[in-house]
Amino acid sequence: MRQRGIQGGFGFILDPAGFDISESWIEFNSDESYAKAFFVGLINTLRVSAASIVTCTFLGLLLGLGRVQSNPLIRFCCHSYTEIFRNIPLLIQLLIWYVLLVEWLPDSQAPLELSLANSNFFLSKDGLAFPWFEIGQSGSFFSTPLFDGTSIQGGAVLTPEFLALYVGLSLYTSAFVGELIRAGYQSIDKGQIEAGLSIGLKPSQITRLIVMPQALKVIIPPLTNQYLNLIKNSSLAVAIGYPDLVNISNTSLNQTGHAIECVLIIMVVYLALSLLISLIMNSYNARVLKRG
């Protein structure tokens, strides 16, 4: 490598990055270091992963329970959903969501509007504007977006890149989570459900009080794997331009040529994340096992 005039080492990460990042929770400008850019990317990865994990768990729960209902119509719908979303590559799903968001939504001059009480939501090609706390000089206050006929002021905005990644990851992973929950539900002996019926519990009570606490033992270990897959899959952000860790490493790699270092940074960070999630979920699993 030295022969080719390539300088190794991580020295470059303190140099100014020289590129801007389209969205971040912390202030970032192009004079700041690569290290900080990587950090911003990591925060973005975590942000989209956390939101998707919550949504996919909720959707998966609905899907899994839908699969064990006695209503054939609902069973059919949940089954079709699962088969469709599981059998299409995530990358293509993300690209489709992105095209839908940036080409099919109205312009920001005429956004779709939804008003609840005194908060407004606006959806347009520029993303989703929603009410959020704003921190000003006089402390934090609640700010709702307002549309003045030409542009949207106030509130916070989720970019179409974030939305596409969030929706794509959540829907894709929920199909897998739904299958896990169905399998967990069906692993419970039928006698348990009948016993619940015979002491006069309602179906919803049976699910909540009898089946789920036992099924969780079967569900949690593979669910952990799905969460880890989701975090790893969030790296597909690079295809639609969401500035996550992989995307920023890719940009840095192209700018500096430090291929080995940038790829190593991605790998080490993801490994650490995987370990962290495994630890958290294992301790939760241990608690569930003890309780049972």
Binding site: R4, V68, S70, N71, L73, R86, P89, T207, L236, Y270
Partner: protein, 395 residues
């Protein structure tokens, strides 16, 4: 299927409910009549009726506009003007009529498209044959290596030691030249299929070795395999692909760098092997220990015992899981478009981005390749279910 909503409260009189409450009054025939069971499962209780109506309402609200967009107002001819006018109201399937050859076969030279097509057909037939008939490992090995070799010759045009056949036999038979096509021109569906198959073929034996190492009692192998598996399972595939396409060339001696396709195949195979190994391990652990003891007492050595006794039984149990992983590998090949190889996803971008007339109709293009991916993945998942059922029967 978990009849939690079994209707015993008698809120809505249904034949099933009646039958449970007054068994004498209802005849056996009415009790199990198909129609009444359907009605009670759809409308048996207020909650059920409500959910049924809700689903129907969503269908009525969603399906007609979708149907109108996809068929009624859609443009089926390759007419960019008409497509532009129908934009937003109707789909433009004309883009597929115009671009399908570029999407399916990528940048492969137009005059030689028949070679890409023939390779795709050969590979699909081979897949079909191996899934429908149970064959011995040796026979599968011979068939697959023959067909894969043939496909390599077809796609690349490299004849190796049989170079002399080009002028004397091949060209006269096919009636046109049989030029060499470098691998960076391969693309589309054949590349997706070849890539998935080759990766599966390389990753599977590696996975078996890793799983054996992971369960072996020798600490060195055990630790090495464990680290390998955890490392590759902990990182995203993209980082492995970056490694394959940017890092490998830097680490190799100057001037010697294998083709990017080979590097990517190696990357995906190493990655997939870690996942497959965990599945194989589950099969190994499910095997009763007595089997290995019995094999040892017969005087079989380690490899003999594994090959003749342990693996045939362990692999049989995990076949459905393996097929599910194969689906994953097939879907994962779409990622190589990120490192600039033009398989199905990449060739679509290539076909549409370069053409200002059709660039706007990407969505229809995505739906087209979605359909192709879905057919392959869905049939594989059905196949895995069928295998699972058959295995459960025979066990």
């Amino acid at each position: 299927m978990g009849d939690v909503n079994l209707n015993t409260s008698g809120v809505t009189p249904s034949s099933l409910g009646n039958a449970l409450i007054n068994p004498q009054k209802t005849s056996l025939k009415a009790q199990f009549s198909f129609k009444s069971l359907w009605i009670s499962s759809l409308f048996g209780s207020p909650l059920k009726a409500l959910s049924t109506f809700l689903v129907i309402a969503i269908f009525i609200w969603l399906l007609p506009p979708l149907f109108n967009w996809a068929f009624v107002h859609a443009v089926f001819s390759a007419d960019p003007q008409a497509c532009q006018e129908a934009r937003g109201i109707g789909a433009c399937w004309g883009v597929i009529r115009e671009k399908y050859s570029m999407i399916l076969w990528g940048r492969y030279p137009y005059a030689d498209h028949w070679r890409a097509q023939l390779s795709t057909v050969l590979l699909s037939l081979l897949l079909l044959k191996s899934t429908l008939r149970q064959e011995g490992l040796r026979r599968i090995f011979i068939e697959w290596s023959t067909v894969l070799g043939l496909i390599y010759i077809l796609m690349s045009g490299h004849l190796g030691p049989f170079e002399f056949l080009r002028a004397t036999v091949i060209v006269p038979i096919i009636g046109k030249p049989f030029p060499v096509v470098p691998s960076d021109l391969w693309g589309g569906l054949p590349l997706t299929l070849i890539l998935s198959v080759v990766c599966i073929v390389i990753a599977s034996p590696l996975a078996v070795l890793l799983a054996l190492g992971r369960t072996s009692s020798m600490p060195l192998f055990n630790v090495v395999c464990k680290i390998y598996i955890e490392l590759f399972r902990g990182v995203p595939l993209i980082s492995v692909l970056f490694m394959a396409s940017y890092m490998f060339p830097l680490l190799l001696p100057n001037g010697y760098s294998p083709d990017v396709l080979i590097r990517v195949v190696l990357g995906i195979s190493l990655f997939a092997a870690a996942y497959l190994a965990e599945i194989v391990r589950a099969g190994l652990q499910a095997l009763p220990k007595g089997q290995l003891d019995a094999a040892n007492s017969l005087g079989l050595g380690y490899w003999q015992a594994q090959y003749l006794v342990v693996l045939p039984q362990a692999l049989r149990v995990v076949i459905p899981g393996l097929v599910n992983s194969f689906i994953g590998i097939f879907k994962d090949t779409s990622l190589i478009t990120i490192v600039s190889l033009y398989e199905l996803t990449g060739s679509l971008t290539l076909a549409l981005n370069g053409d200002p007339l059709w660039r706007a109709f990407k969505l229809e293009g995505y739906f087209f390749i979605t359909f192709i991916y879905f057919i392959f993945c869905f049939s594989m998942s059905r196949y895995s279910l069928w295998l699972e059922r058959r295995l459960n029967h025979s066990l």
